[in-house]
């Protein structure tokens, strides 16, 4: 009994690195976002690849949430550039943005799980359920938006859409808490 300090009785390791499943999906989603929009615009592809590098480096290399979020932001700049300057079809832009936001959420979750629990913890079920919920919400929302986009509702002008989205945004903000 008593005070043995063999390896056997020493404290286990605790590593607070980002959760693995969420990290992997994050990098995958960021890559999807880049590929789905970057193929139409070379500059966007370049920016996006840089962003993915930041995301991967932030998650697996430096373990910096700041770098990862910045990487996600750069990927988004790539999506925007592709939409603004390229011949990217709206559905690809929609898909790219969806993947981008999924990457944003799961990156945050990966770090949060890593901080609160540890790399040694069994986090599979919790991570998968969270990722599934986020993806499901996004897919439903994007599907709905795309459906509305396809249905010819009278004369769908830019002005009309602008007012609609702006109005919706104000309402969303109003229900903050």
């Amino acid at each position: 009994m008593s005070i043995q300090t063999d390896d056997e009785m020493a404290a286990v390791e605790v590593t607070h690195s980002p959760a693995r499943i969420s990290s992997a999906i994050t990098v995958g989603a960021a890559l999807v976002a880049v590929l789905s929009t970057g193929i139409f615009q070379t500059l966007a592809l370049g920016i996006g690849v840089g962003g993915v590098a930041g995301v991967a480096g932030g998650l697996f290399g430096l373990q910096s949430e700041r770098l990862t979020v910045a990487g996600v932001g750069i990927v988004f700049i790539g999506v925007i550039v592709s939409g603004a300057f390229g011949p990217t079809p709206p559905e690809f832009l929609l898909f790219g943005t969806l993947a981008n936001i999924i990457a944003f959420d799961l990156a945050n979750n990966a770090f949060s799980v890593g901080r609160q629990l540890s790399a040694e913890t069994d986090t599979n079920r919790g991570e998968v359920v969270h990722a599934a919920a986020t993806i499901a919400v996004g897919v439903v929302a994007a599907g709905l938006a795309f459906g509305i986009y396809l249905v010819p509702l009278g004369e769908l002008t830019v002005a009309g859409l602008a007012f609609l989205l702006f109005g919706a945004m104000l309402l969303v903000w109003a229900i903050r808490s």
């Binding site: 286990v12 929609l94 943005t97 002008t157 830019v158 007012f163 109005g167």
Partner: protein, 664 residues
């Protein structure tokens, strides 16, 4: 609050107006009463708001529960850490340069005087004279710390303090280190445990010792390394916190930036893309409070009655009886600070449907005491926007009581009581070992008459044997805050080692028929009068296990109230005059020796147990003042090897002798 309310109303109003306008434009094909500038402006506002959102995200306002790392050992200080800290403060932070310097000089001077007295066998005054003359060492740098130059330096100290020169601090550190080296040399201090690391990059080890990553083993205090104020709870369920995590902060930017740019560039693709961002903003706002109060936690141990140091396998079962789905449940079993998780992980991240069960298993090295500990549950809703933190304490108590094993004979001194026992005294009487022959006195038993003498001289004589009597021994613990030190972060601290060793010593002394008592100098009075009998033994076991003064938790982390009195006062008041003392102390400061010498003539004899493991001169700085004292004070001391069952006693190279051979 009112302003926010007003703003909300304005937002809702504007939103309705905008949506109405949009419907009118799209469905009724109304021509706009204004030009494209307004649309453009709308896009600009959206874009700018989006960028503002990005900025807020980058400034980081995410709040989540900071969880502890109960797996890790407690963060007990190691000897000399405060010296390291003071030097660090002086050098890196430039704080309290003069105060720290004075303190360090004073401390080192005490040590130096003790070492010189030990070597020269002289008075304090003489030692001080030697020290100040600088004769004690060949190292000029070391000598200069104590010579008259110092006063000259102190005279100009004010000027130096104002200038705050880095050179000054560096020079002092140089002197300090040189002096420590010199003292180690002349004092013949054993620093063999000093690791190579310390020598290779001194600065690195000093810094790392202070940062969050303290050496190879990281330490943890459950409460101070987490955002939960306390883990001590009697309630089965405690709601600690319910908050918004703000983790979706910034997601609106995806919508705003895309929509804004889409409006400005008249690009329907970007506007469409922006809708996903808005959808997630809504998702983030829809929240439900997770019903963690419906969780039922059970904890099982594979051993009912573990001994200190045993490994116990713990299985935690969590059942969701709330009737609702808990999508994101992060659980940590907050193992008490004194425990160390040796295998497995006391954490789980899962989601629990109503009626389902999750389970996790880990092994833990237990320490003496009675424990109940909570499971920390951090539950989030689907989006993770709301986080509820609760403590769930299952109805389970682990009580870990040290056995009083007899592993070895423990010699005691010849100060005894009137009771029969095992200690050979100098008094003659009935017994086994020959003592002396004396004149016959009427009433002497027949069997002790020396018949040989009667035969040769015709005079009656009586043989005396050495009387064997019991001793009264008080086991005295030094459990003040300063005694909670360990040789390395992952090693047990001195109080743990003391109690482990004392429970062996107690058993051995008791078995030899001595009356054994327990006391501690601490702010919590701990006194158990010497006695005998099986209930005495059992009570002592419980006392070792549960008395707050002997707790594995340092006093400042315990929640009991205590008023400060001189810790020795209550011990001294109760100590029987014939009692011998076994002191268990890491000798981290001058207090125990000074106290024990105490007022002269109080008649106590002390056998002093010193645990080598607790006072490793692991670093040059750590060769501190108290180390030189026991040798001078003339008390026997012994070192108990921390690894049992080989409870051995080895003599020190410094020429001390074992307890029973020491002249009284």
């Amino acid at each position: 609050m009112e302003l926010e309310d007003l703003l909300n109303r304005v937002l809702i109003g504007a939103g309705i107006v905008m949506t109405g306008a949009a419907v009118a434009i799209i469905a009724l094909n109304v021509t706009l009463p204004f030009g494209p500038e307004v649309i453009f402006l709308l896009g600009g506002i959206t874009l700018l708001t989006g960028l503002g959102n990005v900025r807020r995200r980058l400034n980081g306002e995410i709040s989540e529960t900071v969880t502890p790392d109960p797996e890790r050992p407690a963060d007990n200080p190691t000897p000399g850490q405060d010296v390291d800290r003071m030097l660090y403060e002086m050098r890196e932070l430039r704080q309290g340069v003069n105060e720290n310097r004075e303190h360090l000089e004073e401390r080192l001077e005490r040590l130096a005087i003790a070492v010189i007295r030990n070597r020269e066998d002289c008075s304090v005054e003489r030692a001080r004279a030697i020290l100040e003359s600088g004769e004690w060492t060949d190292d000029e740098v070391a000598a200069s710390l104590f010579t008259g130059d110092r006063t000259a330096a102190e005279e100009s100290g004010i000027a130096q303090a104002v200038l705050g020169g880095t050179d000054d601090v560096a020079a002092f550190e140089n002197q300090f280190e040189a002096a420590v080296e010199a003292l180690i040399e002349i004092g013949d201090v054993d620093v063999s445990e000093r690791s190579d690391d310390d020598e290779d990059d001194d600065d690195g080890s000093l810094l790392s010792g202070l940062g969050s990553a303290s050496g190879p083993v990281e330490a943890n205090w459950n409460t101070s390394h987490s955002s939960i104020p306390s883990f001590d709870t009697d309630e089965p369920f405690v709601d600690v916190d319910l908050k918004r995590t703000n983790r979706w902060l910034g997601v609106t930017a995806f919508g705003l930036v895309a929509v804004g740019l889409g409006i400005i560039a008249s690009n329907p693709g970007l506007m469409l893309a922006g809708t996903v961002g808005i959808a997630y903003t809504v998702y983030a706002r829809v929240s439900a409070v997770p019903a963690t109060n419906g969780l039922v936690v059970e904890r099982e141990l594979d051993e009912d009655d573990p001994e200190p140091g045993d490994e116990v396998e713990v299985t935690v079962t969590v059942r969701n009886e709330s009737g609702s789905f808990l999508p994101d449940l992060r659980m940590i079993d907050v193992v008490p600070d004194a425990f160390v998780v040796t295998d497995g992980v006391p954490r789980l991240h899962t989601s629990l449907q109503s009626g389902t069960t999750a389970r996790f298993t880990y092994s833990v090295r237990v320490e003496r005491g009675k424990y109940e500990w909570p499971l920390l549950a951090v539950a989030r809703d689907f989006s993770g926007g709301v986080e509820r933190t609760s403590l769930l304490t299952p109805d389970m108590e682990l009580s870990c009581i040290p056995p009083l094993r007899i592993t070895n004979d423990v010699p005691v001194r010849a100060q005894t009581t009137q009771y029969a026992g095992d200690v050979d005294t100098k008094q003659g009487g009935s017994g086994l070992e020959f003592h002396s022959v004396r004149e016959y006195r009427p009433g002497d038993p027949m069997n002790r008459i020396n018949w040989k003498q009667v035969a040769s001289t015709g005079e009656l004589a009586t043989i005396d044997f050495r009387q064997e009597k019991a001793a009264t021994v008080t086991i005295l613990f030094d459990t003040r805050q300063s005694a909670y030190i360990s040789s390395a972060t992952d090693r047990p601290h001195a109080v743990d080692l003391s109690v482990h060793a004392a429970s062996d010593v107690f058993g051995a002394l008791y078995e030899q028929g001595n009356l054994v008592g327990v006391a501690a100098f601490d702010t919590v009075p701990c006194w158990y009068a010497p006695g005998a009998g099986s209930s005495h033994l059992e009570n002592a076991r419980m006392l070792f296990a549960e008395h707050p003064a002997l707790s594995p938790r340092p006093p400042e982390r315990q929640d009991h109230e205590s008023q400060y009195i001189d810790p020795m006062t209550h011990v001294r008041r109760r100590l029987p005059s014939t009692s011998q003392i076994f002191l268990f102390s890491p000798l981290a400061d001058d207090y125990p020796p000074a106290r024990l010498r105490g007022p002269p003539g109080d008649g106590h004899q002390s056998g002093r147990d010193r645990r080598r493991d607790d006072r490793p001169a692991a670093d040059a700085y750590r060769a501190d003042g108290a180390g030189a004292v026991p040798a001078r004070a003339g008390y026997p001391r012994s070192q108990l090897e921390p690894r049992r069952p080989a409870l051995t006693r080895d003599r020190q190279s410094t020429g001390e002798v074992g307890i029973n051979e020491h002249p009284d």
